[in-house]
């Protein structure tokens, strides 16, 4: 199935957890937050969060700004 991560479409195996996906995407363990389909998903629930086909995932962190 396909999901969109930070604007890029990616094919992932059905039933993959959000935690695995994030681990694959960044090594950062702190200062990172995730929204799935426009809702924040708390870090504690990443392992249990099962992705659905077509999900839109945003992984954000803090950068210089403002």
């Amino acid at each position: 199935m396909n999901v969109t991560i930070n604007g890029e479409t990616r094919s992932v195996s059905a039933g993959q957890s959000l935690a695995d996906l994030i681990a694959a995407h960044t090594t950062a363990r702190s200062g990172v937050a995730v929204a799935v389909n426009g809702e924040v998903v708390p870090k504690t629930t990443w392992p249990d969060h099962v992705l659905e086909d077509g999900a839109t995932i945003e992984i954000l962190t803090a950068v210089q700004g403002g």
């Binding site: 960044t26 200062g31 990172v32 995730v34 945003e58 954000l60 962190t61 803090a62 950068v63 403002g66």
Partner: protein, 257 residues
């Protein structure tokens, strides 16, 4: 003069809030942050790039400077609210510099979306510091929905035009029950001093320091300018007179001492 000022439940000694945007390198930013004496600084939330190390956060942790995430670039209330919530999750702070801009050309705030987002975030437990235009009416609305401060622009972001309408800032300060922090437009030390003389509780700036030719030195200049402007207002300046008043005794009057 270093009496602290309070925002929400915190109090700070430094009335200069320096943003981290625009610095050519982390090393230069580091020097500027130290020289500025700031205790609170802004960061933006952006998509993590593969291998991002989040080094800005490490720097702020090392310098023991509080982090104030902003919602820079958000064009709607909904977008800003989500960004604020992601920042809270990522950084563990419920403070947010709320920016909802109308377009990416002027970067001016959208007054209607701004109040909408501020109301939602306050209700959600955030300490909201909104970046607003210099309209005293909008400032009151933001205070009424529970913002912890109001942060009017002096001029467009990065313009260095200073305080374009001192009269509006005075009206705002006279009416405000929360700190008024001059945000955006500062170009020079005299701009920062003037903002404080108008009664602002603090100044927030980034480009004026980070994009100057010597950020480390400019940061010190802004630190001193904010202190000078604050002390000047507190000390009670002389009235403006259209005509002269001698500072030496008249030649006939017998001297004071």
């Amino acid at each position: 003069m270093t009496d602290s000022f309070k925002i929400g439940d915190r109090s700070y000694d430094s009335r200069l809030i320096m943003g981290t945007g625009g610095a050519p390198s982390l090393e230069i930013l580091r020097e500027a942050l130290i020289n500025s004496g700031t205790q609170l600084t802004t960061v933006a939330m952006r998509r993590v790039a593969a291998g991002t190390r989040g080094s800005i956060l490490d720097l702020l942790a090392e310098l023991k400077i509080d982090v104030l995430p902003n919602t820079a670039g958000c064009l709607t209330a909904g977008d800003a609210v989500l960004t604020a919530r992601l920042a809270r999750e990522a950084l563990g702070t419920s403070w947010v510099k709320l920016e909802v801009i109308a377009d990416e050309h002027t970067l001016l705030p959208d007054p209607i979306e701004l109040v909408d987002a501020a109301r939602t975030l306050v209700d959600d437990g955030f300490t909201v510091l909104p970046y607003t235009n210099d309209d005293p009416v909008l400032a009151r609305k933001l205070e009424d929905v529970g913002c912890a401060a109001v942060m009017p622009l002096g001029a467009p972001i990065g313009s260095g035009l200073g305080v374009r309408n001192p009269h509006n800032i005075e009206l705002m300060v006279a009416a405000a029950g929360v700190p008024v922090i001059l945000d955006a437009g500062i170009g020079s030390a005299s701009d920062a001093a003037l903002a404080m003389e108008l009664g602002c509780s603090g100044v927030l700036l980034a480009s004026a320091v980070t994009r100057s030719q010597q950020p480390g030195l400019m940061a010190a200049a802004m630190r001193d300018a904010v202190a000078a402007g604050y002390a000047c207002r507190a000390a009670g300046r002389i009235p403006v007179r259209r005509f002269a008043l001698a500072s030496s005794p008249s030649r006939d009057e017998s001297p004071a001492f």
